[in-house]
Amino acid sequence: MRRTIPLLISSITGFLLIVAFFIPYTESWGNEVMNWFDIVAAFAFVLGAGSLLKMHLRKVSDRRAGWGYSAVTVLAFLMMLGMGLGKVGVPPSEKFPNHPFSGHYLHEGGAFWWIFQYLFLPLSATMFAMLAFYIASAAFRAFRAKNTEAIILLITAFIVLLGRTYAGEVLTDWLPESLAFLRLERLTEDTIMNVFNLAGNRAIMIGIGLGIVSTSLKVLLGVDRSYLGSE
């Protein structure tokens, strides 16, 4: 029963939405389903927050390795929750000036907004910026010329790297118009990206499309139920 009912719900909804794609009258059904999904996800968020607190509080109480990080996580979670729900530093909205909680929790200047703007965003940007260093280390390994394929990859990558910068233009600008296709920026864009890369990319995309159809069909027909858990 625990698998049959979810399977029935997913099958009926899935097939209805496929049919809705072809029948204009039912085109709003997809939005309706997404609204229902958001409602279910909101309830599940309580479970998620509960799991987060439970795990980290246990870590703190057991003094397990890295418990200090867990303490910071719990504190940050509770602090943000309190500031968001309590609307600390948020003035009432212009529409309802007599109601102290009528302002938006993300109002500019409020405590929640301040922490989001000056703590959370810089931290996120830092994580994203680290990607540059990771790309360098991954490229160093990937472009090692250990066999013929790796050498081809290395040369192609070198051309693309140069072709995407001003260095490419400066280095090959002297080539006459009859050999303009050999200029690094043209070689990168017209040949490597728009022919080889695009062809490979499209082949992968066709495979992905077919994979999605096949997987969706297996899920909707109940051929593959492994994700649904136990009976």
Binding site: F22, G211, L217, K218, S230
Partner: protein
């Protein structure tokens, strides 16, 4: 010269001077010339609430004119039996010659009028539709006709091969190195006494890649249950966490090890992309999992995760259908399931004949794709070389109708 004629002469000079002074203002205040040829057509494939309007631009609507003579167009609508035109809310900007009125009612006849608008707000003479437009409600969206045919063909072949496999027919499936490595990775983690890390992507359960990732999780969890290894699943969405818990619990039950299942090993971190990455990479550095599986939808975090996994010496297997992230996984992981391999993983790992049948169905889809590609290439090449208009029409039909959204027939 008498005083009177001098006065007359002064007056004429002032008049001419004044005219030349006022001329630019007269020109500026002049209304633009009207647009023309306004046509309205019922939008295809809708419930009758849309009318497509097209017109030719006002001759004064020219790019690069300073100051511009036309800044946009104003549209008016009236029902056929009414006398007054009402202005529509939107105003298309200059150089726009089409607009979709999506606030119509099916079965009602409408007339339209368009005027060009000058910077000072003055309007040109109107251009009107000659015939009224009646939007209709279509039952079937014919623009998706060929899409439906191809979908039916692919789905039909998938179902046919599933049934064929169920009937006992032996189906041969090529070996996928990345999937063969699952057992090796879990075995290595068991020997080293370290956990296996499974990351099911960062999208929610309504994404097909997350579902595919969770089906793979059920197989990995079964392996960890059989090998008595620990599996850790940090999730980015609460719903994925609850589903992953069900999946892993089911696998442990299936392997006869319900006692080894620990609900707390599948936990929620945060919905925020980089917060999630920080949490996962932090636990990777502290707990040093021996095997890392990244199966689902990934974005910029793919390389951050995979490089951290590499730095701690974990054996890594990734699978995703995000083409932009595949090169990162290929560069940093030991094995990568590329696109369709990722979706084939569940069927491949289950070894169930009816699931393997679905892979054969996918192959049939590829045959259709290759046929259309080949046909298109040949037709386009021959049409370009010979200049044959029939072949050029066939290419347009293939691109616009069969692969596009221009309807079932040209």
């Amino acid at each position: 010269m008498s005083g009177s004629s001098r006065r007359k002469r002064r007056f004429s000079v002032a008049l001419v001077f004044g005219f030349w002074l006022a001329l630019p203002m007269i020109v500026l205040a002049q209304s633009p010339r009207p647009p023309g040829n306004l046509k309205g057509n019922d939008a295809p494939g809708d419930v009758g609430q849309k009318v497509l309007l097209t017109w030719t631009l006002s001759p004064d609507d020219l790019l690069g004119t300073t100051p511009p003579k036309v800044i946009g167009y104003r549209l008016f609508r009236k029902e056929a039996d009414s006398d007054t035109f009402k202005k529509l809310d939107d105003e298309p900007t200059y150089q726009r010659s089409s607009y979709t009125d999506n606030r119509c009612q099916a079965g009602i006849a409408y007339h339209y009028r368009v005027v060009a608008v000058a910077p000072d707000g003055s309007e040109s003479e109107p251009a009107e539709t000659v015939e009224s437009v009646v939007p209709d409600m279509e039952f079937f969206d014919s623009r998706h006709g060929w899409y439906g045919v191809i979908l039916l063909l692919v789905c039909g072949t998938v179902m046919y091969f599933i049934e064929l496999a169920r009937s006992g027919r032996e189906l041969k499936v090529r070996k996928i190195a990345g999937l063969e490595a699952f057992e090796e990775a879990v075995g290595r983690a068991t020997e080293m006494g370290r956990p296996c890390l499974f990351v099911p992507g960062i999208l929610d359960i309504n994404d097909i890649q997350t579902i595919a990732g969770l089906t793979i999780l059920s197989h990995v969890a079964r392996l960890t249950a059989e090998y008595d290894a620990k599996i850790v699943v940090p999730t980015c969405r609460s719903l994925v966490m609850t589903t992953a818990r069900e999946t892993v619990e089911s696998s442990y039950l299936g392997a006869g090890r319900p006692d080894a299942y620990n609900e707390d090993d599948i936990y929620y971190l945060t919905d925020e992309q980089f917060g999630y990455v920080a949490g996962v990479t932090g636990s990777m550095v502290r707990e040093k999992p021996a095997a890392c599986f990244y199966m689902g939808a990934f974005f910029a975090e793919s390389l951050l995760l995979a490089e951290t996994g590499h730095s701690i010496g974990a054996i890594q297997v990734a699978g995703t259908a995000m083409p932009s992230q595949l090169p990162f996984f290929v560069a940093a992981c030991d094995y990568t399931l590329i696109g369709e391999e990722f979706f084939a993983a569940s069927a491949y790992l289950s070894g169930e004949s009816h699931q393997l049948g679905s892979l054969k169905g996918q192959d049939a889809g590829k045959v259709i794709g290759v046929f259309l590609l080949g046909l298109g290439c040949v037709l386009a090449t021959v049409a370009a070389v010979t200049g044959n208009p029939t072949l050029a029409m066939a290419v347009d039909f293939l691109k616009g109708n069969v692969l596009g959204a221009e309807g079932f027939l040209p």
